[in-house]
């Protein structure tokens, strides 16, 4: 175990020495990864901010339960009790047919309610419950709608979630775009890592050959290059993270100025700790993979192993 730790510690040291020996080429490789990765990362950050903005500022979608015209007071009471027991519902209120007619009267242009009723012949409006669900996801609202439609004396259920669905679709499209970019980025990261390691192997060909002759195992020869590739991905991700953070700081200053004109506060936040960690692990992993493919292919090409 001690020997294993020593070997890895020595590899760490060797890898850093190699980076220090050629800092500019390493920095250029890092900046290629960072700049390329910056774009999908920034897009993802904006998407997350947009999502949270919608969640905090948008009106809560409501479900309207219209009762059948023959619904009596005891039916209304039974439905009210059922709504109170439902755990999926945040709050609700009852709108009687008279209240509904009054609110229409305000919009109709008739001088009195009796005039409106005389024109209509009778009050045609049903009793209704207006319900707010605990979860406002379109999927949940649709599920509740179907549930309510099965209830007795409920003739029609209306959900005003079309806008929520549209926004969710737009966010899905954004997330899909981020994932597409991420897949492309993974390929790019593997390619950069592969090519960098290929050049490293060509530079250290004599050293590889000698260590092989002196009894080095495949793992011993591979290890420093795998570290190199992993660090390339990891530091590339950290640099991209910093670039996005700097960009957000600059944008937030301008956004704060703009927001004062409209008397509200808004600021863009960076990735959460978990997301940041995921990004680093993702990039380090693909850097490692590129290095592994390169080492396997190019060291075997030296016809040593």
């Amino acid at each position: 175990m001690k020997a294993w730790i020593r070997a890895h510690a020595r590899c760490f040291q060797l890898t850093f020495l190699r980076i220090i020996h050629a800092p500019f080429s390493y920095l250029f490789n890092l900046s290629v990864i960072a700049v390329t990765f910056c774009l999908p990362l920034a897009f993802y950050v904006l998407l997350c901010n947009f999502q949270s903005l919608i969640e905090t500022r948008s009106p809560t979608p409501q479900i309207s339960l219209f009762l059948s015209n023959d619904a009596q007071d005891n039916d209304v009471l039974a439905l009210e009790q059922r709504l109170q027991k439902s755990e999926a519902i945040d709050k609700f209120h009852f709108v009687s047919r008279d209240q509904a007619l009054s609110s229409i009267h305000g919009l109709s242009g008739f001088s009195s309610l009796s005039e409106l009723v005389s024109v209509l012949g009778r009050n045609p409006l049903p009793h209704a419950f207006v319900v707010q669900a605990k979860s406002n996801s379109p999927k949940n609202l649709e599920h509740l709608k179907q549930e309510f439609q099965k209830w007795p004396k409920v003739s029609h259920v209306q959900v005003d979630s079309a806008w929520a669905q549209r926004i969710e679709d737009a966010l899905s499209l954004g997330q899909y775009t981020v994932w597409t970019f991420s897949v492309l980025l993974a390929f790019m990261l593997i390619s950069v890592s592969f090519n960098t390691i290929r050049l490293q192997i060509l530079t250290h060909q004599a050293e590889i050959e000698l260590t092989y002759l002196l009894g080095a195992s495949h793992a011993y020869i591979r290890r420093p290059y795998l570290y190199y590739g992993t660090f390339l991905g990891l530091f590339g991700a950290l640099l991209a993270w910093l670039m996005v953070a700097t960009g957000l700081m600059a944008i937030n200053q301008q956004l704060a100025l703009l927001a004062t004109h409209f008397n509200f506060h808004i600021s863009l936040s960076h990735l959460s700790g978990q997301d940041s960690l995921s990004v680093c692990v993702f990039c380090a992993g693909f850097g490692w993979l590129g290095a592994w493919i390169s080492v396997s292919r190019n060291i075997f090409a030296l016809r040593l192993l």
Partner: protein, 218 residues
Amino acid sequence: MIVINNVTKRYPDGFTALSNIHLTVESGEKVCITGHSGAGKSTLLKIIAGISPPTSGSVVINNTSLNPHNSSLKALWRRQFGLMFEDHKLLFDRSVFHNVLLPLEIIGAHSFKQCAQKVRAALDKVGLAAFEKSLPATLSGGEQQRLCMARALVHNPRILLIDEPTANLDADYALQISDLLLGFNQLGVTLLIATHDQALISRLNPRCVGLLQGHILP
């Protein structure tokens, strides 16, 4: 004891470098493999060291034979030798100290402090203790050869496989090298040397095995 059983080496282009070689080397013995360029001396050393696999036949050291298909076992096999190459194979971007440290790093059995002690002892044996921080490029040909010897000896191998130790060296340096080799042999190290340097052979007074076009001369 090294036992080479019926070893043949044929390259993919059809050239036969070694043909049905039988050879036994006792522990602590000094053996010079002689012959002209292309006779198969270096090929034989490479086969013994597990660097190049034989086309047929086997190499047995202390009742253990080399499995040419298992890379991990091959790596372990090579660690039991001290290897000196004709072209030195020094790392010119590393100091003398780090060149000698390399075999110990590969074996990985010692702490850095222990390794450093062993490296300094090896450099002291070959008279390069004062040069540990120098780069190999600043050393003379003889010093570079001695550096190779320090690297070959640092992990205390029982067998030294040496390819043309005095090639490209003038008489004085060659004498230093042969004296060092004699000294190690007196400590019990088995020497297997591929050379056509008659001066070295006469100074070492070894058992000579002649090779001609891949065959051992009677």
